[in-house]
Symmetry: C2
Subunit: 464 residues, 2 copies
């Protein structure tokens, strides 16, 4: 271990209570980005971070976007590598508040449960707690050594839970100020409680809403049933046709650009022992539902998928109502891999839908923002450095895996800045992000901070 | 025209303003049967009618059921035919109240619009206005002749809008007091503004709810999409499979007991000129959606049908959410004709659904109350008498048709009392029953009253 690193890690251990107080101060700000009523609190959360980073010695500014502002902080180090760290200060809404044990999502508490200490608050894990692991690592380096091992830019946005509205445009306009050698994101999770994880690929996304309208009003099914078109029937036929009997998506050309993973990667995945039972058992299921004959990890990492995310139409209250609805709608999304093109899939999907709507009915297909899949080069030097640092902290090799989810900013960094992104986070599957009683384990916060301290050092050493 | 009838009709004309005042008094009582908060008003509406019928010379009582009371009124006439008249004093809820032009659904008003005078209030058409056409006809007969042409029993219930809860049991326990030669119901509509209608058949109903549960919680579609079962997919496949390419219902044995209508009836229906364009045009459609090669009137009268009445699952708000729902549910109903058996269809439907649910998912099939189809004998003498009376009042032949809807009490009268029912009503398609701004045309009320005065006389004459 480097001579400069030991005092940094010791300082992180020693200062944990104070670090927790700093995080709590930030968690008390209700920076909900999707509700305009909280716009002021979003700005307050940005200002709080600006003050914190300025005090640490970063050149910091709060900058306007089309929605909530971003916080931008610089600390250059000529001759050393430069990293761009991304996170977000905004949080999810808190409803239903009655399901929070404390009833106070913005009054953070340290709670002991199941033998672990947990920080309970909205944003504890997603993403304020995770962002602060990086900030505290910087603080300790600066406190002990008066400097950071590498040059650092932080870009902390305030609209991630609102589709990162305005961020790609802002990034595009500020390319020069975001120059770096690699991007770091702390918004993902561990493989399990003991095993760190680096996310090396992300599936892309194409998301649609389909609204079918038949009659121009709701009808009595007694008077019209059997003669009038029913939009729920039309929609069901469309949705049922999206998968064949083998679980494959039936859109023409859907699998264009999808590659089989290399044999050695498949072998590595098999070695993880993630059986269908292990993967689906904890959520009450047994059988993989997608394409037949694939490992669960393949299905969620290297294969595309289609899911109907929501559907509504007609009478949905208690009991019965004999109605034929005028309209029914569904949200349909596709997870994309490799070279699948969201724009081409949008065109194919719309044609697929329109071909299945009767001539006297109408359909609207809304296309939400899509993103391509992203994958890291397996041989990038920063990946090895980060793996080494994580192994030293956790005593276990980091698992390098893809994830089924999409983080559009990663694609934007590649496209707009030419940057590859290391996704390293310390969340756990049971952190209940986006749900009541969100928590972040104290161990995630503490060892996450130590991990970043090591990674910053390792990235500097890798260059040297 | 009978010597005794002319003064009765003249009295109805002369007393119209007073008749309207009496109806308005009843409409002011907010007898909403589905909301327990209005139970007292339901009882008040029953008492109001009890007082009215007692004053007319009926032996009247308010009798308890398991929900709201029924009003029972007798006026026997030895040697003459006896009719059992059924209606209901309860009304639908009024929400959303903002959509009522007057904002006061229980302050009845006489409004002039589109060249017609209309009674606007909740219950104006369904069913207080219709019930009062019969009561006022009795009043005029009694006022002019001191007697009614036939013996009359009125059974006016208070839970029709709540599935007639408690009524079949009450009828079963009071068979002796409900003896009659024929039942009359005034809860249906005219063929059009000028043409009276007698409903001679009703489709039956079998109504179900299907709830599919996959994982034991909502999942992130990024992490699980392609591997975890999606209940909306399962449900869509079930619903899509209910109809084949020709619009026929695919449940095994579904068409058992369905008969083709006699050739002469088909010929009569063709003569009505109800083309797909005429039938579906007013609701914004063009093509019949059900079984191919059938007239629209066949599809809604003599053919069974299946409709999904509602569906819900997953995210249904604005924008996007990448969720795989734990549960999705749909309401599915079947309109039955001839000898189709709702119990057999319930068994077949449940098996059909269960066969399409993956082994590691669960499904609940709720079976709501079903009813068999009902049809009048075409040669019943009271049908001819009523047709003749209606033709005299309206100057047009009454159309004798089936209706696609179900009125369970009609089946109960047949099953429990051995009675056939003549369904004669004066509502119009645009009366907005169950909706804001419910209305009943003054002409419906006035000529409806005159119609019943004639029908009562015709039923007496038919016997003689």
């Amino acid at each position: 271990m480097s001579e400069t690193l030991t005092p940094v890690l010791n300082d992180i251990d020693r200062d944990l209570d104070n670090a927790l107080e700093r995080l709590f101060a930030w968690l008390r700000i209700a920076s909900i980005s999707t509700d305009p009523a909280y716009a002021g609190q979003c700005r307050t959360a940005a200002s709080w971070l600006e003050g914190t980073l300025t005090a640490l010695g970063f050149e910091t500014s709060v900058e306007e976007t089309s929605l909530h502002p971003v916080v931008l902080a610089h600390r250059p180090k000529p001759g050393a590598p430069h990293v761009l760290f991304y996170g977000h200060y905004d949080v999810q809404p808190v409803d239903p508040i009655d399901l929070w044990t404390t009833k106070e999502p913005f009054v953070p508490r340290l709670v002991e449960a199941d033998g672990t200490k947990r920080i309970v608050a909205r944003g504890a894990s997603d993403d304020k707690g995770q962002v602060m692991t990086f900030v505290e690592a910087c603080r300790a380096h600066l406190a002990m050594n008066g400097d950071l091992p590498v040059g650092v830019t932080l870009l902390i946005e305030g609209a991630e839970e609102n589709g990162s509205q305005g961020l790609p445009e802002w990034v595009a306009q500020n390319r020069e100020r975001l120059k770096a050698d690699v991007a770091l994101v702390c918004d993902t999770g561990m493989w399990d409680r003991q095993t760190p994880q680096i996310t090396t690929s992300l599936r892309g996304l194409a998301y649609f809403e389909v609204k079918v309208t038949c009659a121009d009003r709701d009808l009595h099914s007694g008077f019209f049933g059997g003669a009038a078109a029913n939009p729920i029937h039309v929609l069901s036929k469309i949705l049922a046709a999206l998968h064949d009997e083998d679980g494959r998506v039936t859109l023409p050309g859907f699998y264009d650009g999808v590659r089989e993973p290399p044999a050695e990667l498949l072998e590595q995945w098999r070695g993880l022992g993630l059986t269908a039972e292990k993967f689906l058992g904890p959520i009450g299921l047994k059988e993989p539902a997608g394409e037949r004959g694939r490992l669960p990890i393949e299905l969620i990492q290297s294969r595309p998928a289609c899911d109907v995310n929501g559907i509504i139409g007609g009478y949905t209250g208690e009991g019965t109502k004999t109605v034929i609805a005028s309209q029914a709608s569904a949200k349909v999304s596709f997870r994309l891999v490799d070279d699948q093109d969201p724009e081409q899939i949008a065109a194919t999907f719309e044609a697929f839908v329109r071909a299945r709507v009767p001539a006297d009915c109408t359909v609207e297909v809304i296309c939400y923002k899509g993103s391509r899949a992203v994958a890291l080069p397996y041989d990038m030097p920063q990946l090895d450095a980060a793996k080494r640092a994580l192994a030293e902290e956790w005593g276990r090799e980091a698992v390098a895996v893809g994830t089924g989810g999409s983080i559009p900013i990663v694609g934007d960094f590649k496209r707009l800045l030419g940057l590859d992104t290391l996704l390293i986070g310390f969340g756990l599957d049971d952190d209940r992000i986006h749900s009541p009683n969100e928590k972040y384990e104290l161990a995630s916060f503490h060892k996450g901070t130590r991990s970043w301290a090591r990674i910053l050092q390792a990235l500097a050493d890798a260059r040297g």
